[in-house]
């Protein structure tokens, strides 16, 4: 119910921010409760979400990257929480697979720095305005984005052949 109220308020304040008909994964949104946003105004909305005295969503709990399928767009989901009012909200932003760009909210919530690096690392979503956007979990010279659904494991890594079948097993 929180998300619906947030959606209404965003519709008033940021008319362009809401994404239309996006954010639902498999066509079924029953039981799911979220705010679907367009990527571009996200930074302004984020600042407002944090600072608005009625919302005060001052804690970013989690950023989840999702790959909706081999030919589908990517999605970034933000779980927000208010330490003051003890309510939470979920923001979803769908970005095209070819050019996944989302504004960084690292200046709004400091933890977004690392969460965004993780999403960049595993999904290849670029966060514009991020202070230090590089891989975090994988080596910096890794190729590809492993959590995408169409990712294939490399044959070799630094000249070492990745064994696909173990010895004595076949």
């Amino acid at each position: 119910m929180m998300n619906a109220a947030v959606t209404e308020q965003i519709r008033e304040r940021f008319p362009q921010a809401l994404a239309e008909g996006k954010g639902d994964l498999f066509g079924e949104t029953a039981g799911e409760d979220f705010v679907a946003l367009a990527p571009e105004p996200w930074l302004d909305v984020a600042r407002w979400l944090r600072d608005d005295p009625a919302l005060k969503l001052d804690s970013l709990q989690c950023i989840t990257g999702v790959d909706l399928g081999p030919e589908q767009p990517l999605e970034v989901r933000y779980n927000l929480h208010s330490m003051l009012h003890h309510h939470h909200a979920e923001i979803r932003i769908v970005v095209p697979r070819e050019d996944p760009v989302v504004p960084s909210v690292a200046e709004v919530w400091k933890i977004a720095d690392w969460f965004e690096r993780e999403v960049y690392d595993l999904f290849g979503v670029t966060f514009t305005g991020h202070p230090n956007l590089k891989r975090i979990l994988l080596p910096e010279d890794w190729e590809g984005y492993p959590l995408r659904k169409d990712y294939t494991e490399p044959e070799t890594y630094h000249g070492i052949v990745v064994p696909k079948v173990k010895t004595g097993w076949e």
Binding site: K166, T167, G168, W169
Partner: protein, 192 residues
């Protein structure tokens, strides 16, 4: 100056309290000792009594063992394994061949040609033992110790030795086991 003296006093007193604690432990070593001298003494195993239906469930996480004579080749354990360390190959037996019964009196219809478990990859989650309809895959020891005693110490020098081959039948053996028995000889009847 007062703060300085209080600090010194606090340091000395709290340090002495700490030294008192270690001294007490030093004195009570005979009672408080927790060391287990491993190869000679081993950890006492938990009691075999477990509350819920312990005939069927297994609370020991040690080495996997398969009573291959009881296996009916249902592949449930292979599917349950999260790390795919179980590999089973089966051959369907012709109708005429009798492969015998398991200890649960189930008729075996598949010949298990290969049953490998790679214990170097096993994560000891125990998930393979629950679905087994014949209770033939289990961790050694615990409630199963009458079937197979506990075995923790199975380290090997070669990693390949940790692949336990519970069934490894060659093609000839398979053929031999699955040979359809000749129909009963009826020579005498024709003679008449």
């Amino acid at each position: 100056m007062k703060r300085w003296l209080v600090n010194i006093w606090e340091s000395v007193s709290t340090l002495l309290i700490g030294m008192g604690i270690t001294w007490r432990h030093l004195r009570r070593i005979r009672k408080g000792n927790v060391t287990l001298q491993y190869p000679e003494e081993t950890w006492p195993r938990p009691e075999r009594l477990i509350g819920f239906d312990h005939q069927h469930y297994n609370v020991i996480r040690s080495r996997l063992h398969v009573d291959i004579d009881d296996c009916i080749g249902c592949l449930k354990c292979e599917r349950a394994c999260p790390v795919s360390c179980i590999k089973i190959e089966t051959v369907k037996a012709p109708k005429e061949v009798d492969l015998g019964l398991t200890s649960h009196d189930t008729k075996k219809r598949l010949l298990v040609k290969r049953f490998d478990i790679d214990m170097s990859e096993c994560m000891y989650c125990n998930l393979c033992t629950y679905p087994c309809p014949e209770e033939c895959i289990y961790m050694t020891g615990g409630p199963n110790s009458h079937k197979h005693p506990i075995d923790y110490e199975f380290s090997e020098y070669d990693r390949n030795n940790l692949i336990y081959r519970f069934a490894a039948l060659s093609d000839e053996e398979v053929e031999q086991r699955l040979r359809v028995p000749a129909p009963p000889v009826t020579n005498e009847a024709s003679h008449d």
